[in-house]
Symmetry: C2
Subunit: 310 residues, 2 copies
């Protein structure tokens, strides 16, 4: 039996309609338009309905995928959900989703616990798992609704995080193929981003200092192991943590801002969904022959990869 070349065939996403405007919170948090538009780059954060569960967000992302492409559900071999805000810890959200989507019994399901680096990890994990097990059709979901844990009075997180989900169809008919990836962890700094007793804590400046140093270094190392130069990349998609962090990473790499994606004004930092939501828009542009993606955050953790158009 031959192994297939597994890669990204299609991407779809779901961003809930609910919004909280940051302009309405200027007085509460002592911020101004410059801070909203130039510093964080988030005008509104998307917020799910109170009764929408993580699996529901995934289910709706799958609905968006089905509107784009015909999915034969009976041929789905694996479902992976990246989340640190599951419906509950037992069972895994992918199992609930398996039931909601009415998928076949011979379908592997597992969740991966990772934050903003999760999509890059997830692509490599599901791709290699599919190769290893001769699987042809996989669904990689990201859904990490931080509204479950964000304290609305915490300026550090409340103005930034939005709810969303994305689904990436991995198949043996890919549009984008994965190059080599790199992964890293500084577990000793985990306390910069934690959730205890249902409350998120984020030391934004510690994460910023970490990302500004490690992500450019990682991108440089990634290009080297892929035998590529910065010029060989058509589009850079960094985790959309904030406008300031994306600009700083770009600047530290000496990148023209026009080559770097940033577009979360309307919905915020959607954690592991931030890269696939942007990638969904970039995948249709045929001039993007080679895309670099890099995620960073909770752990502290980072991961970078190259996507090559076939």
């Amino acid at each position: 039996m031959n192994r297939n070349i597994i890669g990204i065939e299609e991407i779809a996403s779901y961003i809930p309609e609910g919004r909280i405007s940051n302009y309405d919170r200027k007085e509460q948090f002592g911020i101004n338009d410059h801070f909203i538009e130039k510093k964080i780059g988030v005008k509104k954060v998307a917020i799910k309905a109170a009764d929408e569960e993580t699996s529901d967000l995934c289910f709706k992302a799958f609905g968006a995928l089905s509107n784009k492409i015909n999915i034969e559900k009976g041929k789905i071999d694996v479902v992976c959900v990246i989340t640190q805000n599951p419906d509950s810890n037992i069972p895994h959200t992918s199992a609930k989703l398996h039931g909601l989507l009415d998928l076949p019994e011979k379908c592997a399901c597992f969740d991966i616990s990772l934050g903003c680096s999760g999509y890059v990890y997830g692509l490599s994990i599901i791709k290699s798992f599919m190769d290893e097990n001769y699987l042809s059709n996989g669904l990689l979901f990201t859904a990490d609704p931080y509204s479950k844990i964000v304290d609305k009075n915490d300026k550090n997180s409340s103005l930034l995080f939005g709810d969303a989900a994305a689904v990436t169809l991995m198949s043996s008919k890919p549009v984008l193929k994965l190059g080599r990836s790199l992964f890293g962890t500084i577990g000793k700094q985990y306390s910069a981003l934690t959730c205890e007793n249902g409350k998120l804590f984020m030391d934004g400046s510690a994460i910023f200092v970490f990302a500004a140093k490690y992500v450019p270094e990682d991108v440089t190392a990634l290009l080297k192991i892929n035998s590529l130069l910065l010029e060989d990349i058509d589009r850079f998609i960094f985790h959309q943590g904030s406008k300031y962090v994306v600009n700083t990473i770009s600047s530290n790499l000496g990148l023209d801002p026009a080559r770097v994606a940033f577009d979360i004004y309307d919905y915020g930092n959607t954690v592991s969904s931030s890269i696939p939501i942007i990638l969904e828009k970039e995948i249709v542009k045929k001039e993007n022959k080679r895309i670099l993606i890099s995620g960073f955050g909770v752990g502290l953790s980072w991961a970078s990869g190259i996507l090559n158009r076939l």
Copy 2:
């Protein structure tokens, strides 16, 4: 760069010293010695100290591994923790463990959320991830301390579940190599095993009926895709859910009980650690040329694989 053949080099485990005796609870639960010894096969359940976290159990399992084999921590490329009872949901437990173990920055860390099928899944996931990313040394931890969520007055779960952790060193110098694996899910039956608001609920008879039907079918299919017969397997290690479920699966497959491992009398059903704790004892027996492992539970989910001695 050549890809290595990644497999299991060594296994170690940690079972906390604390025990609750089921003989002391005969009156409370209306059970007798026959039930304890012949039906569930659990005389005592292991229980961690109140201040021992999931990452601590993993850390101690790593200590046991270090006592067996010299580990160069600077060469560890990936850490994966299988758990549905993490220290907390953010960060992932593997990141905390990365810090506790003082591992290098160029080390991938992620958690997988799965229950009793988790070890078989985890082996395939970490093996394929290591192959894909040219990694040579990985640590696969299982640690799912159910004492965090078991209601001590719930007969269905309290007499069964024990706390433990195991660690499997995956390397390019394997003793056991993975054959092909199979995975399955019935998400529509997830409600048979859940945790809501910190309390475990288990419909033991639903899980039993599921396992008695699906696991033998899966083993038969697994042997077929590996071009093997039941006689070709030297040792069968099923998830140690209870003596009754292991015996029923064995009987449904027509297996001589002497070929099937069962040994949880002293510590109980340790969820995803149940297979590696037994495998640790079986790996040293050179006559075990081919071992079949199969896990089943939360999801509902199952996974089976073949381990071949090199």
